[in-house]
């Protein structure tokens, strides 16, 4: 048991969703669902986040953004795809501008179905993600020192 599962901080990004799932993510933070009970805080900043909650089917313009945000999150981290759009592109799967699911861009650890995904479902999804977070932490302990120097650094 690590502290990771007691304090998952989330980053939420709307990668071309219809808002339905996003407002449910926000709703999960508010009094009736209050995910802060689990230590969840919506940080809004990839560098502070452990869990990447991402909604929507990702359009071309978002690909780089999503990768960038994912890259900036420190390990261990998990990605939770919220909603059907995030899982597969949903109703918009056939749209010319939708790449169809988060897993087309970055690896996804948990899929939370629903259109829109319900707050309870989002809670379940994050709880599932915590288990994976723990595993990743253990894997990191076994294989540490992934850091590398970037060029031009002094």
């Amino acid at each position: 048991m690590t502290y990771l599962s007691k304090s998952p901080w989330i980053l939420h990004y709307d990668a071309s969703s219809c808002n339905g799932c996003d407002i449910e993510v926000l709703a999960a933070l508010t009094p009736v669902y209050d995910v802060e009970r689990f230590g969840i805080v919506n940080t809004g900043n990839p560098k502070h986040a452990d869990v990447f909650l991402i909604t929507g089917g990702i359009n071309s313009q978002n690909v780089e953004i999503v990768k960038n945000l994912y890259e900036q999150m420190p390990n261990p981290k998990v990605v939770v795809a919220i909603g059907i759009c995030a899982a597969s592109g949903g109703v918009f799967r056939e749209c010319y501008n939708v790449s169809g699911g988060i897993d087309t861009v970055i690896p996804v650890d948990v899929y939370v179905p629903g259109c829109a995904a319900r707050p309870e479902s989002i809670i379940d999804g994050v709880v599932t993600a915590l288990g994976i977070l723990e595993q990743k932490k253990l894997a990191m302990n076994v294989n540490p020192g992934t850091g590398k120097k970037s060029p031009g650094e002094t």
């Binding site: 690590t2 502290y3 990771l4 007691k6 304090s7 998952p8 901080w9 508010t30 009094p31 209050d34 802060e36 009970r37 689990f38 230590g39 805080v41 940080t43 809004g44 900043n45 560098k47 502070h48 452990d50 900036q72 420190p74 390990n75 261990p76 932490k137 990191m140 992934t146 850091g147 650094e153 002094t154």
Partner: protein
């Protein structure tokens, strides 16, 4: 000997107390918002978590700045609790904050940059009032030494009500509570994301958090000084003051920097100085 023991006790205990205070704060805040809120020990889980994360930096010097921030914050707190010179404590305090600001500057993100500038504005907003607080203590107890101030059985608060009000405002800034959570914020989202802490993560962020806890204890320690004549009243005063801060946090929107600076200087300038001038007069100083 005693001062050193006190300092060590502070260095060991302050994070625990500070963390608990933060935990209670979050719990009470949540309840004020009609939520259940996180467990009491949540701040410790958070910090524990952060230490488990990998270190991600923009530039390596970030580590140094944060460590210095933590170390000097602990030093200034230790100075305070070992009964040192109040002014020296304030200067050490400033020094440690400068490191936080420098850390923010070093990351070259516009968000941290604006956060750093705002942090500096906050420093110039609150510092005069803190110095005036020390001066007030001196006028009442004839010493800048914390140990002497504690030892004197004078009810400081009776002489310094205005200064105390000013100090409470400083406390709002320092605890990063709305309306004065300009440079970084614990709660509601901010136009500058997380301001000074935007580009810190993992263990570095944890250190900042611990430094905050050290800071809480010092700041509340100053509240104690006002009521030092009676420890029980003093503890009660600390609790009430902190509760008041939580209420303020929950009933204000964030002010802009102009407002912050004006309010702080006006309160420090008007209430603080008038209070001190009166005292000066009473103490037989020439006018002013």
């Amino acid at each position: 000997m005693i001062p050193i023991v006190n300092a060590i006790i502070y260095i060991l205990l302050a994070p625990i107390i500070g963390g608990l205070v933060a935990g209670i704060d979050r719990k009470v805040t949540a309840r004020m918002q009609g939520r259940v809120g996180p467990p009491l020990l949540q701040p410790f889980y958070d910090v524990g978590k952060l230490f488990e994360k990998e270190t991600v930096v923009v530039t390596i010097s970030q580590n140094f700045h944060v460590l210095s921030y933590l170390v000097f914050m602990a030093v200034s707190g230790a100075l305070f609790f070992s009964g040192g010179d109040f002014l020296l404590v304030i200067f050490a305090f400033t020094l440690s904050h400068i490191f936080l600001v420098l850390g923010a500057y070093s990351s070259y993100s516009p968000y941290s940059h604006v956060g750093a500038e705002r942090e500096l504005i906050q420093i110039i907003a609150y510092e005069p009032m803190i110095i005036l607080t020390a001066v007030g203590m001196y006028l009442v107890t004839q010493s800048f030494n914390i140990s002497d101030i504690i030892a004197s059985s004078v009810p400081v608060i009776m002489y310094l009500p205005g200064v105390f009000v000013g100090y409470l405002m400083v406390l709002t800034i320092k605890l990063r509570k709305s309306p004065f959570d300009l440079s970084t914020s614990h709660h509601a989202h901010q136009e500058i994301v997380k301001g000074v802490t935007t580009d810190f993560s993992g263990p570095n962020l944890a250190k900042i958090e611990i430094a905050h806890w050290y800071e809480y204890v010092v700041l509340l320690g100053v509240v104690y000084l006002f009521f030092g004549f009676n420890p029980i009243i003093a503890i009660a005063a600390i609790i009430i003051a902190y509760f008041l801060e939580i209420v303020i946090d929950n009933t204000f929107s964030r002010a802009k920097w102009q407002m912050t600076l004006k309010t702080a200087w006006l309160i420090a300038g008007a209430i603080g100085i008038v209070n001190l001038a009166t005292l000066y007069y009473l103490r037989g100083g020439v006018w002013l």
